[in-house]
Symmetry: C2
Subunit: 468 residues, 2 copies
């Protein structure tokens, strides 16, 4: 790459374009924008820019494109594949000032928002209007909706309601050239030209900078119930997942947690809310939702009957707000708990749902072969299993050189099961070396040509998704 | 374009690649593949090829790409925007031999099918296994699933269940180069590279030839109820659509028919099943579905209460198979009925749902200004209104020269309402002259570059979507 280092003239331009106070080079901001939630990776940008309008983003992009300065867009920095790491230095384009919900169009069940709004705040704002935006990644309390769009995030409710891509109707983006465009229209059905919107969703900030997001919404759902089911066999827990769907039920969440995941999360959050007998190997956390409590009790009862066919302990049935909150906090904090416990790597495997038991067995076999311990949990209803590989006693040398071979074997097995290497975290910086397992040379070449169409000079979020 | 005419050597190659009997130049096949259901447009291909395998498609594409022979893929020829018209002659690639359902993966709620399977047959095959593939375009009894994918078709049930794009997980395609590739993976969540699958869906056969389709499925739904609600004001009928959603109900179909639409369809099908008093201006056809009859009656009752607030006549409540069939046939035959009645043009407008009343008013005003009569009907729940402009008494000259100005005004109004120019029929041949209303030069340029990435020589379905 023939990227240019940022010089004094560049800074002067940025200060003119954005006002001085939004051009940051202090230690704290540089440090903050050096990393995200991916392992302990740090790549400092040369400058942090905080544009406040689409026109300002456009001015920055145009300038950087002309001057071959790499630009890495950044949301809240909660990513798990290193998508926001400024691996080539240059500009960290910090989108936090894009924090306004622009229009709640209640008549059309749509919202137009800026990308820097925190997902949970957006959800709560909409819920107060009787509207529901379902995708809720574990980091919903801090992540930005723009980052969710960029990574095509999921979360527990995807099993019933779909992922981010199923809600994005239209995006305003700024191209590397500085040109501003919308990707589609604010309509529920669209057969007008190529689907640029869906090409942008999940493109990890490599094709354009998202400056506005139009989401479709659904009517708010009134009630939910939550069940925590303890299994004596983790493989049986995976099997039960499929049995629930085969019986015709679609829970609004169907989460799997290995024993360690729950135990570590309980320790991390100092929770005593769940009794964890020694013989329990895994849990399913099952939510049903709807507008009529009698129907929820009926469905919860039917699901209880189904899981009773397996070797389970007593089901914890949560219908109070406090109990449900307690269980969801435990589930959402697993990632942080693992991180606090050890150096780790998180793999975001996804397979056709019925292959989950096979995937889990393979993971454990590979762990024995390569000497790693893994804590598995995730969105079992979607076949999306997060594999946290903890360093524990592994030597630095094995961690650096032998483990990648194990991960390669894991992803190869995932693809052989009909799956792929990321369900909702993206490829970013840390998974790109495995893309050849999921895709042929031809597929990668087509994708790179698409990148080239949007970003011919390669200045936007360089070093991501592709090896070269 | 520097396309080559097909010569004897080309024919010899095709005969060798496909067997002689699948290389057709007889009058009947040439005539059949000259048109689709779009107006009366006819563009004869030079030869009709009927490949029987992906490898055969690959051989044909490679050859045609090398020899600059245009190739137009063809499903069942039910398209309404001329996507299958061989406007440059060359090869009509008739996919009817791709008629096998390859794998029903009941455990994973997926099906892998060839593209030449009739949509309704696929649906019935799956329903017998307890599985449901919802998208059901009006032509479902004859259209191919591959054509549905190419156009991103909808149909009445899109309002609750989404359109084709919401069900396509993965596609096997043959590129113009002859290279074969899959676009994604058979998983419910995917954050691995760019979404090539969604780029192909709705690309109208211009980026690759679809040879296998992997669809996600949902559990079959047991029951449905149907209501036909007669309104004395068409605008009020549109308003009622929104009131139903605002009250928190999501019907499994919410169809609008102007009086003429229903009346013409009744005449065309010789049906006497519906009483049509003189003061009725429009109908809503409303379906609710679910697995518990008591809930359906409850929802149907609530919806009835909502529509009672408008000036309506007696609701026809259909719960027998025969009654429901009768009403659906009337709805599905509107298009054919209009076609049998007059030369016509069908516009496939789509707006944010709440803008339907405004759209309907605009259509009628433009009709008065430009002297055309229109029959409007469609998927009101999605804001997708089909506008059938009938020639009637209009002079040939006005039809050819004045009407396009009226259509231009109509589409301009649609875009001003936040909508776009095709909801489910595609752009194809007949709407491409209006693409500049929906898209800026920049957007069109990006789309053309995407086309170029997949089809650098421009031999695959040339003349579609773009003016040049």
């Amino acid at each position: 790459m023939s990227f240019q280092k940022i010089n004094e003239d560049d800074i002067k331009f940025f200060q003119l374009a954005l006002k001085e106070k939004y051009v940051l080079m202090d230690e704290e901001n540089i440090a903050r924008c050096s990393g995200d939630q991916t392992e302990d990776l740090k790549f400092p940008p040369e400058v942090v820019l905080q544009p406040g309008s689409t026109d300002e983003v456009s001015a920055v992009m145009k300038y950087c494109n002309e001057h071959m300065i790499p630009v890495t867009p950044r949301g809240a920095g909660t990513g798990l594949s290193g998508g926001a790491l400024p691996v080539w230095g240059g500009v960290a384009l910090d989108m936090r000032r894009f924090n306004k919900i622009l229009l709640v169009d209640k008549r059309n069940f749509q919202v137009t928002t800026e990308p820097g709004v925190i997902t949970q705040e957006l959800q709560e704002h909409l819920r107060a209007e009787g509207l529901f935006y379902p995708p809720d990644p574990a980091s919903k309390g801090s992540c930005f909706i723009g980052g969710n769009v960029s990574e095509n995030s999921g979360g527990p409710r995807a099993v019933k309601y779909g992922v981010v891509k199923d809600y994005v109707l239209n995006l305003e983006i700024v191209l590397p050239s500085g040109d501003i465009m919308w990707t589609g229209a604010n309509v529920l059905k669209n057969a007008t030209g190529y689907n640029l919107t869906q090409l942008l969703v999940g493109s990890e900030g490599t094709l354009g900078v998202i400056t506005k997001v139009v989401l479709r919404l659904i009517p708010a759902v009134k009630y939910d119930l939550l069940l925590l089911v303890p299994f004596r066999s983790a493989v049986q827990a995976c099997e039960a997942v499929n049995a629930i769907f085969m019986a015709g039920y679609t829970p609004s969440a169907l989460e799997f947690m290995e024993r360690d995941a729950l135990e570590w999360s309980m320790r991390y959050t100092q929770s005593t809310g769940v009794n964890l007998p020694a013989d329990i190997a895994a849990h399913l956390l099952i939510e049903v939702d709807g507008n009529h409590m009698d129907e929820l009790y009926r469905d919860a009862d039917a699901i209880s009957q189904i899981v009773q066919q397996y070797d389970i302990d007593e089901i914890l049935f949560a219908d109070s707000y406090e109990q449900k909150q307690m269980l969801w906090v435990l589930r959402r904090k697993v990632g942080e708990a693992v991180k606090s416990n050890s150096i780790y790597k998180e793999e975001d495997t996804v397979v056709p749902r019925a292959e989950l038991p096979a995937l889990l067995k393979t993971i454990k076999e590979l762990g024995r072969e390569f000497g790693f311990h893994s804590v598995c949990y995730g969105h079992a209803g979607d076949g999306n299993l997060h594999v946290n590989i903890v360093k524990g006693e592994m030597s630095d040398d094995d961690w650096a050189h032998r483990l990648p071979q194990g991960i390669r074997r894991l992803f190869t097995a995932v693809v052989a099961l009909g799956g792929t290497i990321s369900g909702e975290h993206g490829i970013g910086w840390v998974q790109k070396e495995y893309m050849d397992i999921a895709f042929s040379g031809l597929q990668l070449q087509i994708m790179k040509q698409l990148k080239h169409t949007f970003d011919p000079k390669g200045i936007l979020n360089p070093g991501k998704i592709f090896m070269s």
